[in-house]
């Protein structure tokens, strides 16, 4: 649509960059909590790799948000000087780590969407968005491969592990839909050729779910009710603690270089 005014598409681009950045940052932060505590060294290293990729991607997205906004805000201004209500990430990524199976299930759900989202963004009409997507996509292909392999292994492993995984998916199911919810800005971004086609993302992600989960002998159905709100700044009770912890040093001694 060419009758869209520049201000609106700008707003939609910033919104998208923040959403991508916040999701990556908060999930990366959660995964990083496990560094040093992984069940075995190889898995510790692999999960930390994913955390590193995600925080690295968050830096690119948040920097872009600042550039588009044009008020001189940096990646760190966004990460360290916003309140939890200003974070736009979905609730899924802020859920506290539980056992390793739950962490992998949360990761798999995110990765399956993340990959399709990036595939779409690779052709975004906003060149800066396409550039970041092209860098990130190779990493996320690997993330999805890693999490899928573990879903299959743990689902089709022992009876105990199958039950654990099934219960993880049952707990996480209500948080999935929020990955593909439309709002005025996402619709605008899609129509301007900048952003994401949520319907298409949802369809493809669920195809991945079906393929991997059937191999893993697990079940996942889209639940009747789901949790919304993260994008609008309404989070779970856990989010306030993530932000308080993450920002504690910077908030205690403001206006310093680190």
């Amino acid at each position: 649509m060419n009758n869209m005014n520049k201000e609106d598409t700008q707003k939609a681009s910033i919104d998208l960059a923040l959403w991508m950045g916040d999701n990556a940052l908060i999930l990366g932060h959660r995964l990083a909590e496990l560094c040093g505590h992984g069940p075995i060294l190889e898995q510790d290293i692999a999960l930390t790799n994913i955390a590193l990729d995600l925080v690295g991607q968050a830096r690119m997205w948040l920097t872009l948000a600042g550039d588009l906004e044009g008020k001189g805000r940096t990646e760190d201004d966004f990460a360290y000087l916003r309140s939890d209500k200003e974070f736009t990430n979905i609730k899924l990524v802020e859920l506290p780590n539980q056992d390793w199976g739950y962490v992998i299930a949360r990761q798999f759900i995110f990765d399956a969407h993340h990959l399709v989202i990036l595939e779409q963004l690779c052709t975004s009409s906003e060149k800066a968005i396409a550039d970041i997507a092209q860098k990130a996509i190779k990493e996320v292909q690997y993330h999805l491969r890693f999490s899928s392999e573990w879903i299959i292994r743990l689902g089709d492993g022992t009876e105990f592990s199958r039950k654990r995984m099934q219960s993880a998916f049952d707990k996480l199911a209500p948080y999935i839909k929020a990955l593909t919810l439309d709002d005025p800005l996402t619709i605008l971004a899609k129509e301007a050729g900048i952003g994401i086609d949520n319907k298409d993302v949802e369809e493809k992600a669920w195809k991945t779910f079906d393929a991997i989960l059937s191999e893993a002998t697990l079940e996942l159905e889209s639940p009747e009710y789901f949790h919304k709100g993260g994008k609008q700044g309404l989070h779970t009770e856990h989010m306030g603690f993530i932000i308080a912890e993450m920002q504690s040093v910077v908030r205690a001694m403001p206006n310093n270089k680190w």
Binding site: A32, H37, T48, R59, Y80, D99, G157, N256
Partner: protein
């Protein structure tokens, strides 16, 4: 050949600076000494992840967060290389890890001190990785080949860690008064434990003489400690900080810095398991291992199923 000759041939090879490889004959005590030393080193890398991991969630910029995360991950990699080196001597990683969580294996006691402020992350990278480098550069020429080669890879990354840590200290010491005070406080708390990292004085060290003769070690604890002090002082001065040692002064005659007496009571207290964080460190490793059990069991069960399915497939084709 009788044992005595074998021993002589072995010692001749050591004296000629030959590298000993896994398949070579070696005295049983040499093998045991190496397993002990390499596994202690491996445990130190792995336990050493914990005090620094404590600050990943609070790193004060995204750049620092990524750098710290990558650093702690490197330490996991070092643990892996070293467990593999120990395995070339016939040790099993699972047994070694069991000793760690049983509390029967030792690891560098520095990691039993708490990380209390962000500046501790700078001080650890700079001083603790720095002290480790002193020791490890020497070990790049240790007589056992697989250990020496692991050390070469590790040393490259440790130098990077040290620079990164020092860079944090520079930022703090050039920052606000509060930041500078934080940096000084971290130096105060990490300085002496870093000097203790080189182990007891030569006169007290029960393994040193034999390890030197076998060229597992090539410098004594006191030599390495002196080299560390000598190289650290100008770095402290550059930061505008002060070492917490009133006896520290240049000795023209010796060509080295003199430094104050180390509190060996504190050292032995921590070594014997009564440092500020010994219990927490072991508990964290035990928790990781116990909570990972079902994951490993499932992975093994899955691998077995896959193998079985592949075999069934083959019999059907045949």
């Amino acid at each position: 050949m009788i044992e005595k000759d074998l021993n002589q041939i072995f010692q001749d090879r050591i004296d000629a600076d030959d590298r000993i490889e896994a398949r070579d004959w070696m005295p049983e005590k040499y093998r045991q000494t190496l397993i002990r030393q390499i596994s202690q080193h491996a445990h130190s890398e792995v336990v050493g992840m914990l005090p620094e991991a404590n600050w990943i969630s609070r790193a004060p910029s995204l750049r620092r967060k990524v750098a710290l995360l990558a650093k702690v991950q490197d330490e996991a990699g070092h643990g892996l290389y070293l467990y593999s080196a120990a395995e070339t001597l016939g040790a099993k990683r699972s047994d070694l890890l069991q000793q760690l969580i049983d509390g029967t294996a030792k690891y560098s006691s520095i990691f039993n001190y708490p990380t209390l402020t962000w500046a501790d992350i700078g001080a650890i990278g700079w001083l603790v990785d720095g002290a480790a480098i002193m020791n490890q550069v020497m070990l790049c020429r240790t007589s056992y080949g697989p250990y020496a080669r692991a050390m070469v890879r590790i040393c490259k990354e440790e130098s990077f860690h040290q620079r990164q840590g020092y860079e944090i200290m520079i930022a703090l010491s050039q920052g606000s008064e509060e930041q500078k005070a934080m940096a000084q406080d971290a130096l105060n708390r990490w300085w002496w434990p870093s000097l203790m990292m080189f182990g007891p004085n030569d006169a007290e060290s029960k393994h040193t003489a034999q390890s030197m003769a076998w060229r597992i070690k090539r410098k004594t604890n006191d030599e390495l400690r002196q080299a560390f002090v000598d190289s650290s002082i100008s770095q402290i001065e550059y930061l505008g900080l002060t070492a917490p040692d009133k006896d520290l002064k240049w000795n023209e005659e010796r060509g080295h810095y003199d430094f104050g007496a180390i509190d060996w009571d504190e050292f032995w207290q921590v070594v014997k398991g009564h440092g500020p964080c010994n219990k927490e460190r072991i508990a964290a490793r035990r928790k990781a291992q116990e909570e990972g059990k079902w994951v490993q069991e499932a992975a093994m069960a899955y691998a077995a199923k896959r193998k079985q399915r592949a075999q069934d497939q083959q019999t059907r084709v045949a």
